[in-house]
C-alpha cells in the first residue's frame, strides 16, 4: 500500500496499537512480520510468494555458506543465491527489455523474428528487496557477518514494511541486530517519528506531486521542441520532483521505523548542495550507492588496480547502477553520464586536488553550481520516455531549438522557480548540518507551527494517491 493513502493511515494505527500490546518480543515481531506481508499483499497478494522465495533461498544458502569450508562449494552456493535473486529480477524487470533488444538485433541481422508480446507485471519494490537479500548472502560469503540465528528475524529483515518497497536498502548488519532484543518506544521517539513521516509525505504530496509534477509532465510530454526556458524549467521541475518524491519516501520510512523503535539509515543528505560527483553520490540514494560500492565496485578492484582500471570500474558500476533503475537504454545513458562525470572528476582531482576540501567558498560554490548543472543534464535522460525526446530537450537547454512553441503556463513556471530556489537554499544551508541538530536548536513553538503547516498542506492538497516514482524501479 502507498504511504500517501488512507489505507496506510489506518494500517499503521492498527499496527502501532497491536505492536505496543504488553506481549512477548517474539509475538510483537510476529505482528510486524504479518503486517509486512499484508502491506505488500495490499498491492498484489500473489507476489508475496516472491518474498517467501527470496527469504527461504537466502536463509538456507547463508546457513550452508557459513558451514561450508570448501571454496568451490561456497562459490556454488553464492551462485545459487545470486542466480535466484537476479533471475527473479531479470525475469520480471528485464524480460521484456531483453526480448525487445533481441528482436532489434535479429532485425539488424535480417531475421524477421516476431515473438508474442510479453505481459509481465513488475512486482513493486523487487529491485530493493532482491538487493537487500543478496547483501545478506554476500556478507556471509565474504565473512563480513554470520547468518541470522532466527528465521523470524531474517524474514522480518527481508520484509520490514517501512522500507520494503523503496528502501533505504538496509544492510543485515544494521537491521538484524535490532531485531535481537525488544525495542522500547518512548513518546519523544514516537512523536519525532510522526514528524518525519509528516515531512516525508509533505515532500511527496505537496512538493513533488502538487507543485512540480505538472510542469515536468508537460515539458517531457511535449511532442515538439520547446524553448530554452521551458526545457530548463521542465528539467528543474523533474530534479525537484524526483528528489522530493524519493527522499520523501525515505524520510517517511525512517519515521515509520522510528515509531516502532527501529533505526533505518539516512538515504539522502541534501544532494543538490553537492560539490562534485563523488560528493553527490555520498548524498543521493546513499543506500544504493554504498551497496554498489561494496558489492560491485570494490570486488571489481575499486581504485586498487591503477588509474585506467579505476575508470573502467567506475563506468561499469554506474552503467549497472543506471540499468538497476529501469529496463531502458535511457537509464543506461543516465548511469553512463554519471560514470563519465566521476571519471572526469577523478582525473581533475589528481591534477588539481579535491574541490570539496578547498577552503575557498567561491570555489566551492562554483564547483557546486557546475555539479548541479551537469546533474540536470542527466535527469533529462532519466525522465525522457525515449531518446528523441531527450535529445530535443538537451538541444533546447543549450539554446539551439528552432520553431519551438512554449508549453508551460505562467503559474507553473512560478511554482518551479520558487520551489527550486527554496530547495537550493535549504540544501546549501543544511549541507553540513543534520535535521536533528536544526530541530533540536529550534523553539518548540516554531517546530510545532512548521509541522502544523505541513500537515494542513497535506490535508488540503489531498493528492491523487499517485505512486512514488521509485516504486517502478
Amino acid at each position: 500500500m502507498l504511504f500517501n493513502s488512507l489505507t496506510f493511515v489506518a494500517f499503521f494505527a492498527i499496527v502501532l496499537g497491536l505492536y505496543n500490546l504488553p506481549i512477548s518480543w517474539r509475538s510483537r515481531k510476529i505482528i510486524l512480520l504479518v503486517a509486512s506481508y499484508a502491506f505488500y499483499a495490499a498491492w498484489s497478494p500473489p507476489f508475496v510468494l516472491l518474498l517467501w522465495l527470496s527469504t527461504l533461498v537466502d536463509w538456507h544458502v547463508a546457513k550452508a555458506l557459513f558451514r561450508a569450508r570448501d571454496l568451490s562449494r561456497r562459490r556454488l552456493l553464492l551462485v545459487v543465491s545470486v542466480a535466484v535473486n537476479l533471475g527473479v529480477l531479470g525475469f520480471f524487470k528485464y524480460g521484456g527489455f531483453l526480448l525487445e533488444n533481441f528482436v532489434a538485433l535479429m532485425t539488424l541481422m535480417g531475421v524477421d523474428f516476431q515473438p508474442a508480446a510479453p505481459s509481465i507485471i513488475l512486482p513493486v519494490g523487487i529491485s530493493f528487496y532482491t538487493f537487500q537479500t543478496m547483501a545478506y548472502s554476500l556478507d556471509v560469503y565474504l565473512r563480513r557477518s554470520e547468518p541470522s540465528r532466527s528465521l523470524l528475524d531474517f524474514a522480518l529483515f527481508v520484509t520490514f514494511f517501512p522500507q520494503l518497497v523503496a528502501g533505504p536498502i538496509v544492510r543485515p548488519t544494521h537491521l538484524l541486530p535490532q531485531f535481537a532484543e525488544a525495542r522500547r518506544v518512548r513518546i519523544n521517539q514516537l512523536l519525532w517519528g510522526l514528524g518525519l513521516m509528516t515531512l516525508g509525505l509533505f515532500q511527496k504530496v505537496v512538493i513533488a506531486d502538487g507543485m512540480l509534477a505538472k510542469a515536468s509532465d508537460t515539458v517531457f510530454g511535449a511532442t515538439a521542441a520547446v524553448p530554452f526556458v521551458d526545457a530548463w524549467l521542465g528539467t528543474l521541475a523533474f530534479a525537484g520532483q524526483i528528489f522530493s518524491d524519493f527522499a520523501g519516501y525515505s524520510t517517511t520510512a525512517i519515521g515509520a521505523a522510528l515509531c516502532l523503535g527501529f533505526s533505518l539509515p539516512n538515504n539522502f543528505r541534501f544532494p543538490y548542495a553537492a560539490i562534485g560527483f563523488s560528493d553527490f553520490w555520498r548524498r543521493w540514494h546513499i543506500s544504493l550507492s554504498t551497496w554498489l560500492r561494496d558489492y560491485l565496485y570494490i570486488p571489481l578492484g575499486g581504485n586498487r588496480k591503477g588509474p585506467a582500471r579505476t575508470y573502467v570500474n567506475l563506468m561499469i558500476t554506474m552503467l549497472l547502477g543506471g540499468l538497476w533503475h529501469g529496463a531502458a537504454w535511457t537509464f543506461v545513458v543516465w548511469g553512463g553520464l554519471h560514470g563519465l562525470y566521476l571519471m572526469a572528476e577523478r582525473f581533475l582531482q589528481r591534477r588539481f586536488g579535491d574541490p570539496e576540501r578547498t577552503t575557498g567558498l567561491l570555489h566551492q560554490v562554483f564547483v557546486g553550481i557546475v555539479t548541479y548543472f551537469l546533474v540536470q543534464i542527466t535527469w533529462v535522460f532519466f525522465r525522457a520516455p525515449d531518446f528523441s525526446t531527450a535529445w530535443r530537450l538537451v538541444i533546447s537547454m543549450f539554446g539551439f531549438s528552432e520553431g519551438a512553441a512554449p508549453v508551460l503556463a505562467t503559474v507553473h513556471m512560478i511554482q518551479v522557480v520558487v520551489v527550486t530556489v527554496v530547495m537550493l537554499v535549504v540544501h546549501w544551508y543544511m549541507r553540513s548540518r543534520t535535521l536533528e541538530e536544526v530541530v533540536g536548536r529550534a523553539h518548540w513553538m516554531v517546530v510545532g507551527a512548521t509541522w502544523a503547516v505541513m500537515l494542513f498542506a497535506l490535508i488540503v492538497t489531498q493528492g491523487s494517491g499517485s505512486s512514488f516514482i521509485y516504486f517502478q524501479f
Partner: protein, 351 residues
Amino acid sequence: MTHIDGTDRTVPDLAWRRAWGLVLLLVILATAAWEFNWRAYGYNSRVVDSPAFWTIQRKAATAAEDPVVVVGSSRTLFDINLDVWERLDGRRPIQLSLEGTSGLHGLKHLAEDPDFSGTVIVGVTPPLYFTGFAYRGDVFEHFESETPSEWAGKQLSMPLERVFAFIEAENLPLFELIQDIPMPNREGVNPPHMEIRKLSESDFSRNTSMWPRVEEDSTYRQGSRDIWVHTLNQMAPPPNAPPADPEPFIEETIAYVAAIRERGGDVVFIRAPSSGPWREVEAGGFPREKYWDRLMERVDARGIHFEDHPELMGLDLPEWSHLSRASAIRYTEALYPLIQEALTVHEEVAP
C-alpha cells in the same frame, strides 16, 4: 539529543508534547476554517466519484438480479434522476455513466461480462459515441486492476466523505485552486485549468444532479459556458477534414446488443437534450440522419430521441449540455414510460 537504543540515530531534545499539542490545535482550527469556507461557497458533503466508487457500482451491476443499468456520458448521469425512477419503477437503476465518455465503452463492459444480465439504458452523445472518446477511460483500467489497498482506501474514505465537504479530491486540492489565479500566459499557452470546476454533485448511489451554483449564480454559469465554448472550438475538426465514420461504432454496438440480448437482457438508446452551441455543433458535425438514425436502423434495439417527443423538450439546460435539477425530475418522469414502451414493443417484435 537522545540516541535510539544501540544505533546512531538520534531524537532532538524538544518539548515534544507541547509541540504536538500545538500541531493538533492549529491543524484542527485550520481544517475547520477550510471546511467552513467551502461550505459557504456551496459545497456539501458528497461522494467523491472516483474510479474506486464507480467500480463498487459496476460490481453491483453484475451481482444484481435483472438490474436496470444506465451507461452513457454526463448527460445520462445528470439527466436521469434515480429517486424518480425508483418511485415509478420500484427498482433503483445502477448509474454507470461517465463524464465525457462514450456510452459505447460502458455498453461494451457489460456486454463482455458473462455474469451480467439486465436492462441497459445507453446514452448517445454523438460527438462522444461516434468517436469513442473516453475522458474517464481510467475507470475501466481501475476496475480490472484494483488492488486490495485501493478498495480499502475507498471504504475508509466514504465515511469521511459523508461528513466533510472539502474532501472532493477532483475539485478542491490546493494546487488545482492555485492554477485558477488569473495571470497572463505566453502566446500559444493555454491556461492550465480549462475544465469546469464543478458542475454536479452525486450521492452515494451516484444519483447525480446539477450543482445548485450553476443554476443560481449567473457569473459561475457564464464561466461554465465560456469553458464549453473553448472546448467546442478545440473539438472542431480541421477544415476539410472528413466526417467521423459511424460504421465501426455501429458494428460494435450491434455486437454488444446481441451479447446482452443473448443473456436475456435488453437495451434502449436515448439521445438526451442539448441546446445552444452544443446542439449546433452536434447538428453540424454529427447530423441526426447520418448518425443516430443509421444506428437505430441497424441495431436490434429501440431508441428515444428527445426531438421526437414534445414532453422531452422545452427543458432548462443552464449550460447547454445538462438539465437543471428540476428539469431532470421532469425529464425522468417523461422518459420512464417511453422507455417501458420501447422495451415492451421491442419484446413483442423481437424474434
